[in-house]
């Protein structure tokens, strides 16, 4: 198992490196100049030339690549053209924020998706099941940015119940303990709902299908024949088996959640990597674009590996197969 995971990590890292190398050359050879933003009558051409020299942009592209690659390998992501600060320190501030949003969304996503899927499967073809399918289809088709705006309209602007932007209130420095936690939770509510619950519609549909397949199995009939309670049959026997294919979906949903975070962070002014990426695009801040892509790819790979590990834990046969190899 360990050898298998190690091989997967190495393969994935090589692939990420190739993608980053291609991105580097495309970014540097494409039209557009990151120094164009300093094209201002108050800034002399000599100053711009000096900045270009300091950032290494005056050197041949191949030399720039090797300097960037050597730095990258050491964990030095370079200096942001826009903020004039090391990219690593900007990432250190934004990654935890994105993780907070993504993890909260993931929890909502998993809980809502699995619970609704199981309930639908248990009462197949009932009014609840049909209603659930229709709502899931509707929610699945809503653009996240539109849902976010509608929720802001209702819960922030009309009802004034939840804040519409940022991670915490401006006066939160004076808060501590439970009050601070509550303030942050209130700020997290709408973004996490948009990202998590809205995506859960797809998971619920998948869980329902997986659960229905499992409920047809002989061992479920046996469990019921033994006189086990319905709850025991559903949770102990059916859920564990139905969850196996769902774990793969969870691993695959991480890119989806991180991609969705770009939009959600922008709308809710959440200071995470998504907003950072969009701003970097506008200002052609190459080091930031490359570093964010790298971090996101690593997160996705780790998500997939965790899914593989979870898969093996849920189904011992998979572990046995890996060990046999």
């Amino acid at each position: 198992m360990a050898a298998f995971l190690l091989r997967r990590i190495l393969q994935s890292l090589i692939l990420v490196w190739i993608v980053l190398t291609i991105t580097f050359f495309l970014l540097h050879l494409a039209p557009g100049d990151p120094m164009a933003r300093y094209d201002h009558p108050d800034i002399s051409p000599e100053t711009v030339a000096l900045m270009r020299e300091r950032l290494g942009l005056d050197r041949p592209v191949v030399e720039q690549y090797f300097r960037w690659a050597a730095g990258f390998a050491r964990g030095d992501f370079g200096v942001s053209f826009r903020y004039n600060r090391p990219v690593a320190s900007i990432l250190a501030e934004t990654i935890p924020n994105t993780l907070r949003l993504t993890v909260a969304s993931m929890v909502l996503y998993v809980v809502t998706g699995i619970v609704l899927g199981m309930m639908s499967a248990a009462r197949r073809y009932s009014v609840f099941d049909r209603l659930n399918t229709i709502i899931a289809l509707f929610v699945y088709s809503i653009p996240s940015f539109w849902l976010a705006l509608m929720l802001i309209l209702v819960f922030s602007l009309k009802l004034g119940l939840l804040p519409s932007s940022h991670m915490q209130s401006l006066d939160s420095v004076s808060l501590s303990g439970a009050a601070l936690f509550f303030d942050r939770a209130k700020h997290l509510a709408l973004p996490a709902f948009v990202l998590g619950v809205a995506s859960a519609a797809g998971l619920a549909r998948y869980m329902r299908g997986s659960m229905i397949d499992v409920l047809r199995e002989d061992y479920i009939r046996t469990a019921r024949a033994k006189g086990l309670t319905e709850a025991s049959v559903m949770f102990k026997h059916a859920f564990r088996n139905a969850a196996i294919p769902v774990v793969t979906i969870l691993g695959m949903s991480l890119p989806f959640l991180l991609g969705g975070a770009v939009i959600v962070e922008k709308i809710f002014s959440w200071p995470g990597m998504g907003g950072l990426m969009v701003d970097a695009i506008y200002t052609r801040d190459y080091p930031v674009i490359l570093a964010v892509n790298f971090v996101v790819a690593v997160m996705v790979i780790m998500g997939n590996l965790l899914a593989d590990a979870g898969y093996a834990l849920l189904d011992p046969r998979i572990m046995a197969r890996q060990t046999d190899r």
Partner: protein
């Protein structure tokens, strides 16, 4: 040219599929929604007297609430929201159709080549697929858009070029099972080359699966295009695009809710239409479902 037994069986599967599809309420509902949307896009000039781009007299036409003369209201430039939603459907439907077609062509070629050739060609193609799938699509798109200034053809090419991986996997799987079938072995023994086998025998037999997967993916493409336009990195101004229209209305949510709400509902209706149609096609034509 005589039909092979496999092609006859395949044709039978198609006509049987149509019979099943006509009885499938979900699929038919989706088909009706999609047909209505295309009719609205084509006949937009007949459905509204207003131009979607030219401004109305300001300030009296700014943010007029829905009423008789403007059923869905006006935006901050005094433009009719209904006209912009109708003309916006042209952009949204054209972009999604063309980019899905491009991604299906690229995916079919890559998947068929990987599945048929095997060996290192298969390994290289599938590792590229894995690598591209490891990066969230929106990040990939944003990075590519950073390279060039945004335009409609660029959005189509990028959405197509970043969305072929799932089709490649699907077609590869199909080709792996098809290549051992008698008709492929027979073609090989008659001396047919790799290119002929891929284009004449393998790809045509994966068409059903490709069409189903393409229909199911159009909804996602529409949402991605709308997201890009919402971020100001998709369809450039002043072309009416649903995503951009939602963005433009976000500053006046409380006072002029209609500017964001109606384009959003148009996106939802389109995506629901395509998802229902895709589900119906899957239930009617996919052998796994109807057998």
């Amino acid at each position: 040219m005589t039909e092979t037994a496999f092609q006859q069986a395949n044709r039978g599967c198609w006509s049987g599929g149509w019979v099943r599809f006509r009885k499938n309420r979900t699929g038919m509902a989706g088909a009706v929604i999609v047909v209505i949307l295309y009719l609205m896009a084509v006949f937009a000039p007949m459905l509204t007297p207003y131009d979607p781009v030219s401004q109305g007299p300001l300030p009296e036409m700014r943010h007029n609430a829905p009423g008789w003369s403007h059923p869905l209201g006006t935006d901050k430039f005094g433009r009719d929201v209904l006209a912009r939603v109708l003309y916006g459907s042209r952009i949204s439907l054209a972009i999604s159709f063309l980019s899905v077609s491009l991604s299906v062509i690229l995916g079919a070629l890559a998947g068929a080549a990987a599945g048929y050739a095997g060996g290192w060609i298969d390994a290289v193609i599938m590792r590229v697929v894995d690598a591209l799938m490891a990066i969230p699509r929106l990040f990939l798109l944003l990075t590519c858009i950073a390279l060039f200034s945004n335009s409609v053809p660029l959005v189509i090419i990028l959405l197509g070029a970043t969305g072929w991986m799932a089709t490649a996997r699907l077609v590869r799987g199909q080709v792996l099972s098809l290549r051992r079938q008698d008709f492929v072995v027979a073609a090989e023994s008659l001396g047919a080359g790799g290119r002929r086998i891929i284009f004449r025998h393998l790809i045509p037999n994966t068409l059903t699966v490709m069409i189903i997967s393409a229909t199911l993916r159009i909804g996602g493409i529409i949402l991605t295009e709308a997201s890009l336009s919402f971020l100001g990195l998709g369809v450039p101004q002043p072309i009416p695009s649903w995503g951009r229209m939602v963005f433009e209305g976000r500053e006046v949510l409380l006072g002029a809710w209609w500017v964001s709400t109606f384009p959003g509902l148009a996106i939802i209706a389109t995506v629901i239409g395509y998802n229902l149609l895709g589900d119906g096609l899957k239930e009617s034509f996919d052998p796994v479902h109807f057998s």
